[in-house]
């Protein structure tokens, strides 16, 4: 058992080292860009997974990315905030708005809730498109968003964000933090409580678990990270516009989680890399990526509800005839429609 832990820790470290070394040999800017986009979208995907663990689906992740993106851009560009502070504040404001919208809506059954988030995503996008044009910039959005402020230790080194490589490390850092947080939540009893709420909410209430509080926490956390990702997006592209955060994007993020697998923290990352990667494989025509993702979603749901992560487990189970733990499966925890 201990040996297995050592092995997996070594494995993870190896992967991390490999990821850190990539920009040193991968000089092709385009591929670095693709990796940045993949890692960036993994963050709201991980957030969606957290919401999913409470039994809800949100189609508003892109919308919350937009809130984070616009907030940090406004703070940095118009109010002269330090870009790092702007980024964090963007995430915090996104979380606050999430709490405000979450409190009345999270108590609903999941079918109502996802309808509301779908509408929410649209309303957020249209708000940035039509309202307050002098500030939000209408269809063009906000341009000239400042790059992240350089990190400097006087005399020792200075990291300025001018190259794709530097952004690569930055997004990797954010992703790493997100993964760490999500992993800790999962392993701790907070994660267990969330899953318990998903399994049997009434029983959870009956033993004294304040289910709404937990739901709001999960939702706010997920949206905080979406906001951070949005802020990063704005700084990376130097601009943010409503076109980047449509419901289509929210559905893509949903696909990343479904295809990759919602059971394990690595699932959404795998899903994002897979689907974005396939998209890039047939690059040149944008729609194909989504078509493939759509087909994969349907296939996964029918044949492999645990997502791609379920593949090695399924193969292992064939060899060992172990009982499959349903914890990662969508099927067991999908509630029948006539749930009270």
């Amino acid at each position: 058992m201990l040996r297995k832990n050592r092995q997996s820790t070594f494995g993870y470290l190896a992967v991390i080292v490999f990821l850190l070394l990539i920009p040193l040999w991968l000089k092709h800017q385009y591929y670095l860009h693709v990796l940045v986009i993949m890692f960036m979208f993994s963050i709201p995907a991980l957030g969606l997974r957290l919401i999913w663990r409470t039994g809800h689906v949100s189609f508003a992740q892109a919308g919350f990315m937009a809130i984070g993106g616009y907030t940090s851009s406004i703070l940095a560009k118009f109010l002269g905030f330090n870009s790092w502070l702007a980024l964090i504040l963007g995430g915090i404001l996104t979380a606050i708005i999430a709490v405000a919208i979450g409190i009345p809506t999270l108590r609903l059954k999941s079918s109502y809730f996802f309808l509301v988030t779908y509408a929410m995503g649209e309303v957020i996008r249209l708000t940035f498109l039509y309202l307050w044009t002098p500030v939000f910039g209408g269809a063009i959005g906000i341009t000239g968003v400042p790059r992240p402020d350089p990190i400097a230790i006087p005399g020792i080194f200075r990291l300025a964000f001018l190259t794709k490589g530097s952004f690569y490390y930055l997004v990797l850092f954010f992703l790493f933090v997100t993964v760490l947080v999500m992993h800790r939540i999962d392993k701790s009893r907070i994660g267990a409580t969330l899953q318990a709420i998903r399994d049997a909410e009434d029983l959870a209430k009956a033993v004294g678990i304040p289910t709404m509080r937990h739901r709001v926490f999960a939702f706010a956390t997920a949206c905080f990270f979406a906001g951070i990702a949005g802020g990063f997006y704005a700084q990376y592209h130097s601009q943010v516009s409503p076109l980047s955060f449509t419901n289509i994007v929210s559905m893509e993020i949903f696909a990343f989680v479904v295809v990759g697998g919602g059971g394990h923290v690595l699932g959404p990352i795998l899903g994002t890399i897979m689907l974005k990667g396939i998209g890039e494989g047939v690059r040149g025509v944008g729609p194909y990526e989504i078509i493939v993702s759509g087909i994969l979603m349907m296939l996964v749901m029918i044949f492999m509800p645990e997502g791609m992560l379920g593949v090695p487990k399924a193969i292992a189970a064939l060899f060992r005839k172990r009982i499959k733990t349903p914890e990662s499966s969508l099927e067991v925890t999908s509630e029948p429609a006539a749930r009270n």
């Binding site: 689906v57 919208i101 009345p104 809506t105 609903l108 059954k109 999941s110 079918s111 109502y112 996802f114 309808l115 509301v116 779908y118 509408a119 929410m120 649209e122 309303v123 249209l126 708000t127 039509y130 309202l131 419901n247 289509i248 559905m251 949903f254 696909a255 479904v258 025509v285 729609p287 194909y288 989504i290 078509i291 993702s293 759509g294 087909i295 994969l296 979603m297 349907m298 996964v300 749901m301 029918i302 509800p305 969508l330 099927e331 999908s334 509630e335 029948p336 429609a337 006539a338 009270n340």
Partner: protein, 291 residues
């Protein structure tokens, strides 16, 4: 002149309401009978719009003919979706959502690939305008109201009077009891999808000449339909009608008076309804199914 504007706005409300009611009815019917949200509903609206564009505008097929063929074909497609995608996940909201989203993505992006990115504009099917109380109103828009009314009324009559319709209502209210009485649930489900998707397609067809045929048009209208069934009551047909009327008026009047912020108000209304009366403002008259 404001008087004219008022009449114009009100007439426009009716058009929007008619359209919305048509879309929401189909959605709520499927919800009532199969107990799932057919997320692909928007895709069918879009397909209907493209269908009429190609059949009528490009290939000159007579309108009535094109209309009937498209509705039936797309309704049949709905049945196929039910049989192969939804049926295996009977009643489970989450898996049906996932496959519906996947299907929508495929259809939507497929349309982009097959038909191109540009929106398709077409001439009105019904020419001419009428003047009412000083305001001009195109016959095309009037026909939206007429066709929507005919279809929705037809559905109501069908459900209330015919044997098959009553079987569907029975299946919607109490699945087990319906089975005991010999109702075939899978047939009811397929019929519900046929009608629901057919109505969605019809909605796309009547709005295309006025608006346009566009790969993403289904999404916007679907959002409206979601809000309508929440406000009106999920699974309730009268709810869809009343909700559709309300939202149609809010959209038209709101747009004229305050422009875009009316959408935010609409969203707030949805939240308020959810807080105050989650089953919907108008639920419980013909048949209500909690989803």
């Amino acid at each position: 002149m404001t008087g004219q504007l008022v009449v114009q706005t009100i007439l426009n409300s009716f058009m929007l309401s008619g359209l919305y009611i048509l879309i929401a009815s189909g959605l709520t019917l499927v919800l009532g009978v199969i107990h799932i949200i057919n997320f692909a509903h928007g895709a069918f609206i879009m397909l209907g719009a493209y269908a009429i564009y190609f059949l009528s505008a490009r290939w000159g097929v007579p309108y009535l003919f094109a209309f009937v063929i498209s509705v039936f074909t797309l309704g049949a497609l709905g049945m196929v979706v039910e049989k192969f995608l939804y049926h295996r996940f009977w009643g489970k909201v989450l898996p049906c959502l996932v496959v519906a989203v996947g299907l929508t993505q495929v259809i939507q992006q497929g349309a982009l690939v097959a038909f191109g990115i540009e929106s398709k504009y077409m001439d009105s099917i019904f020419r001419g305008t009428i003047t009412f109380l000083g305001a001009r109103f195109s016959v095309e828009r009037l026909m939206v109201v007429v066709i929507a009314s005919v279809l929705v009324l037809g559905l109501l009559i069908f459900l209330k009077t015919t044997k098959i319709g009553m079987a569907m209502r029975a299946a919607a209210q109490d699945t087990d009891a319906a089975i005991l009485q010999g109702v075939s649930i899978s047939k009811a489900a397929q019929l519900a999808m046929f009608i629901g998707c057919g109505m969605a397609a019809a909605a796309g067809m009547i709005i295309a000449p006025i608006f346009r045929a566009d790969a993403y048009m289904g999404e916007l209208l679907l959002t409206k339909a979601f809000m309508i069934i929440i406000i009106g009551g999920m699974g309730s047909l009268p709810g869809a009608i009343m909700g559709g009327l309300l939202v149609g008026f809010i959209d038209s009047v709101g747009q004229t008076l305050i422009g875009y912020p009316s959408q935010i108000l609409l969203f707030i209304l949805v939240i308020v309804v959810l807080l105050v009366k989650p089953t919907g403002l108008f639920s419980g008259i013909v048949f209500t199914i909690e989803a």
